[in-house]
Amino acid sequence: MAILKTENLSKSFGALAAVKDVSLGIEAGSLHSIIGPNGAGKTTLFNLLTGTFPPTSGRIIFDQKDITGTPAHRIAHLGLARSYQRTSVFPAFSLFDNVWVAAFACGSSWKGFLWKRTDGYPEATERARQALSDVGLEKKSHQLAREISHGEQRQLELAIALAAAPRVLLLDEPAAGLSPEETRNMVALVRGLKGRYTIVLIEHKIDIIMSVSDRISVMHFGSLIAEGSPEEIQRNPEVRRAYLGGIAA
């Protein structure tokens, strides 16, 4: 059962068609990767899914409900959480506060948010703690986000998405800028999340894609040019063509 679907989703910026007629379905509980050369429209697709801007045409269906045009601040409440390609955290906050803010937003109740103390929300506190623990940062929860290393910030980036306790995780290049060892850690992390969440993953590093994905969709110049299992994609000649001159495997 496709938990997240797009139907003929398109987005143009003036004359530039960034996403063209993309229809894809993400099965619940699967890890579905989206790959393609730079400029293929992957991040724009994510932006459409998270309501950063509305599509020019087409629909987005989440859990059988049409969520097209839902504004960005409501998306997290629906159960979709996203991590960003360029680290986007709250630099002056501690790691704990970073995830707490995300956990509180999607918490069951905001009652008393004007006068109660922040530690008076056990649900948010627990989810925040869990999110940091899931990514292995719980020992540093009191450090400031701007003080930790880039690799740790990428982990924090993921933790913020997890803190919302979403059903679907949209991960935009979680391994961006990571060293080989950090990348291995990140892959293990993502693999560990499989099954607990439905994951849509954008990545450039082919070995990661091949090792974790259940299904892969390939984008090129805004359109979907191929979709299938990792083996099918590896054998697909169109995909090879798209990648010639693009990202090498």
């Binding site: 409501r74 998306i75 960003y84 709250f90 906050f93 506060d97 937003a105 006068w115 922040t118 913020i160």
Partner: protein, 312 residues
């Protein structure tokens, strides 16, 4: 934490013996005004350059009711807070929908709108002459015409305001506002309707400004046109930045510095705004992080010096 409270209480008790009670009262009133602004500036990262809109509007409305309808003190305070919050809601609604630079310019421009209305509506506001004759009514038998009693009253209200602001900044709202300041895009992405939260901060700031406005009207017995002018808006920004927008207590220090500066200058020369402008410029050029930060930097240096001495 405790240390700050002690210092605060001591200064409250000692102040009216160091300066005239009226000046001392003005300092705490201005501190309340600054607390309101700092929720916007320090915590949410919104530089509102039109806070006097709410201060002045509250002062005029409450002043009018005090003068012509003899309302009691409670009602006056309530009106002040209400008018401050309502005017902030109206102004804020237009302003929060635009970003950074436009926001600043709009708060200023809307301030000018209110200023010109106050300037022209002489039958009600008195225009350039201001609205004189504002009484200080009796409060449970306390005659607030006694400056020390009124000072005590204002100090208590100040402490209350400080406590309230402390609760707010330590609440989830405080953290959400800071998140908006840190990374507005991500704050929205994790599920907060940013303009609505900005508007909330605006309204709370307006409420504090309104309270300060009523107390000001009752302090001086008059609402001068300046109370709704851009200079007044600029003064509270200056005071807050100088005190240090990063801390809850910054506006208090800023209030001390500013009131001291403006009071000493106003007796020197009729053209004292020039001196004030010069003071702004000097302070801005040389004391950038604000007094609180300069103080902590000094503290840091002292600590380093001490620890290096211990090593030898």
């Amino acid at each position: 934490m405790k240390k700050e409270t002690i210092v605060l209480l001591v200064s409250i008790i000692a102040l009216p013996f160091v300066v005239r009670p009226a000046i001392a009262t003005e300092i705490w009133i201005f501190a309340i005004f600054g607390l309101g602004l700092n929720l916007l500036l320090g915590y949410t990262g919104l530089l509102s350059f039109g806070q006097s809109t709410f201060f002045g509007s509250a002062a005029y409305v409450a002043g009018w009711l005090l003068k012509h309808y003899g309302i009691n003190v409670f009602f006056a305070l309530g009106i002040g807070v209400g008018v401050g919050a309502l005017s902030a809601l109206l102004v804020g609604y237009l302003c929060v929908q635009r970003s950074g630079l436009y926001f600043i310019m709009l708060t200023f421009a809307l301030n000018q709108l209110f200023y010109f209305i106050a300037y022209q509506w002489t039958t009600v506001t008195g225009g350039e002459d201001g609205m004189p004759g504002i009484p200080r009514p009796l409060f449970f038998g306390f005659d607030f015409r006694n400056p020390m009693l009124y000072y005590a009253f204002v100090s208590v209200l100040f402490l209350l305001s400080l406590w309230l602001m402390k609760r707010i900044v330590e609440s989830p709202l405080g953290r959400i506002l800071r998140a908006i300041r840190e990374n507005e895009v991500r704050a929205e992405a994790v599920g907060y309707h940013v303009p609505r939260f900005k508007l909330l901060a605006f309204v709370i700031g307006g409420a504090f400004s309104g309270l300060a406005g009523v107390l000001y009207a009752m302090l001086f017995g008059i609402v001068p046109l300046e109370a709704i002018s851009f200079v007044f808006s600029g003064n509270v920004v200056f005071a807050t930045l100088i005190g240090g927008s990063g801390s809850l207590y910054g506006p208090i220090i800023g209030s001390f510095v500013f009131i001291w500066l403006s009071e000493s200058m106003s007796v020197m020369w009729a053209r004292w705004p020039l001196l004030l402008g010069v003071a702004f410029v000097i302070v801005v050029l040389f004391f950038r992080g604000g007094v609180v930060e300069a103080w902590s930097r000094l503290g840091e240096k002292v600590r380093l010096w001490r620890s290096s001495r211990q090593k030898t």
